[in-house]
Symmetry: C2
Subunit: 479 residues, 2 copies
């Protein structure tokens, strides 16, 4: 008799789903292996547009970041290679902040002191001088780790109606739903309004929390800005409204701001929850807030380093001590992920030898993303049976597909959601791997998929053409 079977394995793990690496991605990986083994398919390459993995889709690493990482890893190179002086200085400065001057030693659990200082300075500058304290900065193993840490703190340790209730947007990045399932928490979904550019209405927030009353203890509201998978950018007014709502309901705000560098829409601007909250009067500027940032997105896309940080403000001192204790058993986030984060928040300045190269690379990546956001939005809206809100920010389009009833019926017969059925057909006939909208949540009776805008411009044009052909023949077949 095995110890573990599907009947007795942790039911919260059994029930959890994480669509971004779900069944369709397993199938795509299999197809990749089949192709390598010489299988005959209607396509020669699998394009993994399911995940925001910049370097996997052809983006080059930022030179400054990688040089600093290399010198921190092999300090004997500092005096041997012809890297610019600011690269060498940065490596020396970070190594001086590491115990034993080695990136192989543990740091304090919230991270290396000089890096926490640099992050606080970055936030202060970003928010027009509103001060950030290094003591409020906690580095983490990618933003996911920081988010899970904060959610853990908010759990009640109780079941049934006394479970913690966490408000999450629908559609949402499924880390949230997966984590809440794993923690046996109660998800309080609030719907973004597709008809108004995935806007966030406070009336909907009120409806959502009312519906959850008596079923859980509401503790926090998660907001993703810019939106993932939905690509909208919140206005300052919108953020103020959310903060006021959270205050009324005594909720902590968890602001997922990992795409803060990825703003493309005309007239769109990134406002941090921290800045908006601190500019509001008492009692709002005393509210507990956690904001999350990552090394994996933005212009750098260094996913593999697992770098990230959270800024957590206005916690009670004893709760803050408890938070720091809670991360101590994990020892520390990867040091080189911290190093990458440092290069991002404290890049070369005008006049530094690496400045021109850094700026050129950063600007190029962001300009291309902006162009791709436009191309993708326009293309999807040019196809019959598809509408797509403008990709104002982040790295994804989330088009709505109007799936014919005949296809809906066939999907149901196969036990698939209609958009999952659609995405599998897309994969099998074109090699394009996307994520069905049902994995993010969507309004009953609407169907979507998420596709990254990351492939290089010529490739994304080819992909969209291939997609269009598939869509037309799909609609033809099931009309």
């Amino acid at each position: 008799m095995p110890v573990l079977s599907m009947d007795n394995v942790n039911p919260n793990v059994r029930d959890m789903e994480y669509a971004v690496r779900g069944p369709i991605v397993a199938r795509a990986t299999q197809l990749e292996k089949d192709l390598l083994a010489g299988a005959n398919k209607p396509f020669s390459k699998v394009l993994k547009a399911n995940i925001g993995d910049c370097h996997a889709t052809g983006q080059s690493p930022n030179t400054f970041i990688r040089r600093v990482v290399a010198l921190c890893s092999a300090p004997d190179l500092i005096d041997k290679v012809d890297y610019p002086e600011d690269v060498k200085q940065r490596a020396r400065r970070i190594l001086a902040g590491c115990r034993g001057s080695s990136v192989g030693s543990y740091s304090a659990s919230p991270g290396i002191d000089v890096i926490r200082q640099d992050i606080a300075q970055y936030i202060t500058d970003r928010d027009g001088g509103i001060p950030s304290s290094p003591d409020d900065i906690i580095l983490c193993t990618g933003a996911s780790d920081g988010i899970k840490t904060m959610l853990t703190m908010l759990m009640t340790g109780k079941g049934g109606n006394e479970r913690a209730g966490i408000m999450i947007p629908v559609p949402q990045y499924p880390l949230y739903s997966a984590t809440l399932t794993e923690y046996n928490a109660y998800s309080i979904p609030y719907y973004l309004n597709e008809e108004s550019h995935w806007g966030l209405d406070t009336s909907e927030l009120k409806r959502a929390i009312s519906a959850a009353k008596g079923k859980c203890i509401p503790r926090a509201i998660c907001v993703i800005n810019p939106g993932n998978p939905t690509g909208q950018v919140l206005t300052k007014q919108n953020i103020q409204d959310i903060i006021k709502f959270a205050k009324e309901e005594n909720l902590m705000v968890l602001a997922d701001e990992v795409y803060q560098h990825n703003i493309y829409g005309a007239g769109c601007q990134f406002f941090s929850f921290k800045k908006v909250l601190m500019e509001m009067d008492d009692p709002y500027n005393k509210m507990e807030l956690a904001s999350f940032m990552s090394a994996s997105k933005g212009f750098m896309g260094e996913c593999g380093f697992r770098g990230g940080y959270s800024e957590v403000i206005n916690l009670q001192p004893d709760v803050k001590a408890c938070l720091l204790k809670s991360i101590s058993a994990k020892l520390c986030p990867p040091i080189l992920g911290q190093v990458v984060m440092d290069c991002i928040v404290n890049p070369p300045k005008p006049g530094d030898p690496s400045y021109d190269c850094f700026k050129k690379e950063k600007d190029e990546v962001l300009a291309q993303l902006k162009e791709k956001a436009k191309i993708v939005t326009e293309l999807f809206n040019s196809i019959e049976g598809i509408t797509c809100n403008e990709v104002q920010g982040a790295m994804y389009a989330f088009p709505r597909i109007f799936i014919p009833q005949k296809a809906v019926d066939e999907a149901k017969a196969e036990g698939k959601s209609p958009d999952s059925f659609y995405c599998f057909k897309l994969l099998e006939s074109t090699g394009i791997c996307t994520v069905p909208g049902s994995g993010f949540g969507e309004k009953e009776g609407t169907y979507h998929f998420r596709i990254t805008i990351l492939p290089q411009i010529e490739e994304i044009k080819a992909v969209l053409e291939l997609f269009k052909q598939f869509h037309v023949s799909f609609m033809e077949r099931y009309k």
Copy 2:
């Protein structure tokens, strides 16, 4: 009203303790800062002997490992630096296994394929040809992450008497007790026998599980070999007995084998649970087993990279799929931690250009650890009021201190455990930071502390002399 207060924060987090980074370490860090600020103390330096942090205490990184990491980080260096050809080949091979040939892309959640293959080969060779499959290898963010992942799977999702029961040694590395508290699981402590070199008797295992019956659903037994904090190395017979016990009680075995390279005792040999189990007859060789390994310990001590892996065998296929799903939302372990792990399991071979240097560095570190294990054991046993089992393996001594009643009383008056009282006094008068035995668990009425054997040889001799003076005066004062 704050959202989070100590009354409503997650009670499992509130109650959790992780002594290795507990209050005494916070105090040591403060003392370091005070010294830097010019404070006058009876010592000029704080020695953090609380944690197995090799590079922090003067060990140099392994050259081969760091060169490979540097080239993977900045591939343009491959054709520029005069590193040996095997370093360059390794970097090229790993980069070929990364999406987009970048360590900045995500890997599959269980890790990079070629690295999983190298690990499986290492295990196969280590275990005298008993095969290991890459499909059973899951890389993780340090062994801690792998252990938490496996414990998560074993939770029942229920409370009270239906909680999962996990057997853990006492004394134990407090990751286990901390995680079980966080997960609201039931710890089933079994005591190691200090009188017989911290031996593990099956009669004690039977006593322990009997005492827990009716209070939980026993699911697994954790064994740390070589022992942490206790430094013993299990015999093959001992491991067989544990496996038989686990089979009788239908428990999964979780084998913490992160110190498998750290064997010093005369006549001691490391046997993996995997090898012993696979060499036993049916049904033992069908048992579910997870074994954990780390990049942080051994001869390399690359703690900051957060590299590690687990080998998980004999799981039901659907449970295995569930395990893989459970790690998908974390995306992947840090790529450079995976790279370090690869260099450890697949080091340069005789004839390779880096072989001589690699072997010399590895042998030196392990020879010095062996010498230090001997020095430390002998010194502690030479002091009145202290006994210490031989440090046969791992990186710590766990001496027993016989604390006079007067000191016990004073400790209690201060609300401290007697060994915590002792360790704080040690810190304040010498700057030596150790961890009180109570943080690992110990038999009622016995007192210990854990000290690493990592400082360089001359330093450790000086430290032990300083310790001896402190101990004599402590005993004098409280006799």
